[in-house]
């Protein structure tokens, strides 16, 4: 495990350098001169001295690698610059908006688990029951209907017709219900099928049959024998879907006008607020990568035999 942590952190550090460099270069990708762009030359009259002053201020006169090192040291001090539009520090903007997004993501994951675990288990153990058929239907719907459409339908039924929940915005827990329900359905339906197939695989294995033969209660078999073996695929899938969760959150935040980080980003795209976008790329990529690292570590703890073979070879 120690070696794993050391190797992973070295890899992660290298990857961090590479992707921050890419993120840093992105601003240079802006068509034309970014300084002229920032000053909106087409709309305003600016003299050459003004342009040079801003160029100096943004540090564009130094060589690229010096600029990168300066920028990176600032990033490591959690200073991602200021928003071009509001002038607020990007870190502060993120603090407010990520709190909202995490609430939504947590709600979504909660709904997803509440949906996928019972339905997946039932459809594996009682494949002919009504709930199993419901689960199959749900997983087909969830994987083929785009999340914004699910959200639109839920919004129409529960917010417009029945008026149980607010249509959009973020005040109080009841405004969280519809977005997290949508996110949960969109994410959870994929897991129904996954949980079902892994459970079926594990149930067919010899040691489960052996445990049954030994007369262990079926509930104990389920909890102690089957669930533990069925966890790794689900966890690794979860690590993969965190990235798509971040993307799914963006669409739903726009649909429900939910003031999370996704909404902030789409607004920043339309206003072309580069420091915010750059900070988002760095921050979210770090977040997704760390969650992947954690899921990798968990997998290693859950199935040590796979990795031991790796060492002896």
């Amino acid at each position: 495990m120690k070696r794993f942590v050391a190797r992973k952190s070295l890899e992660w550090g290298l990857a961090f350098l590479v992707f921050t460099f890419f993120s840093f270069l992105l601003l240079r990708l802006v068509p034309g001169d970014p300084v002229l762009y920032l000053l909106k030359v087409d709309e305003l009259n600016v003299d050459v001295a003004e342009i040079d002053r801003l160029r100096e201020e943004l540090g564009f006169t130094a060589p690229v690698w010096v600029q990168y090192v300066n920028w990176l040291t600032q990033v490591l001090q959690l200073n991602l610059g200021n928003s071009l539009i509001t002038g607020q520090p990007v870190t502060q903007l993120f603090m407010d908006n990520y709190a909202a997004t995490f609430e939504l993501a947590a709600g979504g994951i909660f709904v997803a688990i509440a949906l996928a675990v019972p339905f997946g288990t039932i459809s594996a153990f009682r494949p002919k029951s009504v709930s199993a058929k419901l689960a199959t239907g749900l997983s087909v719907v969830g994987s083929s209907v785009p999340s914004f459409l699910i959200g639109l339908i839920l919004m129409y039924v529960f917010a417009v017709s029945l008026q149980w929940f607010p249509v959009m915005g973020r005040n109080g827990w009841d405004s969280l219900v519809l977005p997290s329900l949508t996110l949960g359905i969109a994410v959870g339906c994929v897991y129904i099928r996954l949980i079902r197939s892994t459970l079926l695989d594990v149930m067919a294995s010899d040691y489960v049959a052996m445990a049954r033969v030994r007369g262990i209660r079926s509930r104990t078999v389920l909890i102690r024998y089957i669930t533990r073996a069925a966890l790794p695929p689900v966890i690794s899938m979860f690590g993969v879907s965190v990235a798509s969760l971040m993307g799914g959150v963006v669409v739903l935040e726009v649909l429900f006008a939910y003031p999370g980080v996704g909404k902030l980003m789409v607004d920043s795209v339309l206003r072309r607020d580069f420091p915010v976008l750059q900070g988002y790329l760095v921050f979210t990529t770090c977040l997704v990568a760390s969650i992947n690292l954690v899921t990798n570590g968990m997998l290693r703890l859950l199935q040590p035999h796979l990795y031991r073979k790796d060492v002896s070879r």
């Binding site: 914004f148 639109l152 790329l281």
Partner: protein, 259 residues
């Protein structure tokens, strides 16, 4: 399997059909004829600007499915090439290719798509670029692993003993075993990319007006959800049917190749 393939090809076919036949122009607005009922001229009626819904649906299908197919084909080709090169033909490339793949795969594609939209301006070009920049890594990784597994097998060793050149072995003896897996992943990815393009068009960062896109059409039509639900229903139906087609295709492919 053919049936499901046709569902996807159907969209492309209709886009071509649209170009040949003289259907209503999907771009012409007619305010006097807005939100019209289905008629002989407008098979599915008109939208809030009086544009023909049917021809817009077909053109949108052509754009989305065409672009997604292109993205998947190009990235899969890159993946197969790089994976075979690094895994079998030029093993010296392996450290470079795996390092670059590992570094690139960290970027979530939606996040990069948003940032690229911000830098290059919201457009379908930046979305396609963002998806392609990330997608090739998963194919490279998949092909690399499969090629490594395959190259230790007996028939490949026999071919090498017989003195065949490495590129020839790769083409004749390694790739035939790899391709089924790649095809299954491609058919799944097709649906994912279509969903991604629709979702981004829905929030206004994908296909830009006046060009139609199913997600964009839903976004425009949702303000009329109470009075004219058909504006949302038709593009929604198109998306759902296409995605079901792509997942069914991948399921059939899996069964066909017995993976």
């Amino acid at each position: 399997m053919k049936k499901h393939f046709f569902i996807i090809c159907g969209c492309l076919f209709f886009a071509v059909l649209y170009a040949i036949t003289s259907m209503a122009d999907p771009f012409v607005t007619d305010v006097t004829n807005r939100l019209a009922e289905p008629s002989q001229q407008n098979l599915l009626g008109t939208d809030h600007l009086g544009r023909d819904i049917f021809s817009r649906l077909l053109l949108a299908g052509g754009i989305t499915v065409g672009l997604s197919t292109a993205i998947v084909l190009v990235t899969a080709t890159i993946g197969v090439l790089l994976g075979t090169m690094s895994g079998f033909v030029y093993r010296r490339l392996e450290p470079i290719v795996t390092k670059v793949t590992d570094a690139t795969i960290i970027f979530p594609d939606t996040v990069l798509a948003i940032v690229l939209a911000g830098v290059l301006g919201p457009s379908i070009q930046s979305l396609v670029l963002a998806i392609s920049l990330i997608k090739w890594t998963s194919y490279t990784r998949l092909v690399h692993t499969l090629v490594l597994q395959e190259s230790t097998k007996g028939h490949v060793l026999a071919a090498r003993v017989n003195g065949l050149t490495k590129p020839k072995i790769a083409l004749r003896h390694v790739l035939p075993a790899v391709c089924p897996h790649v095809l299954v992943v491609m058919s799944l990815d097709l649906g994912k990319v279509i969903l991604l393009i629709s979702a981004f068009s829905f929030i206004g960062l994908g296909v830009q007006l006046p060009f139609p896109e199913w997600g964009g059409m839903i976004s425009e039509g949702r303000h009329y959800l109470v009075t004219n639900p058909m504006l949302v229903f038709w593009p929604a139906l198109c998306i759902v049917l296409t995605i079901i087609g792509s997942t069914r295709l991948s399921a059939k492919l899996t069964r066909h190749f017995q993976i």
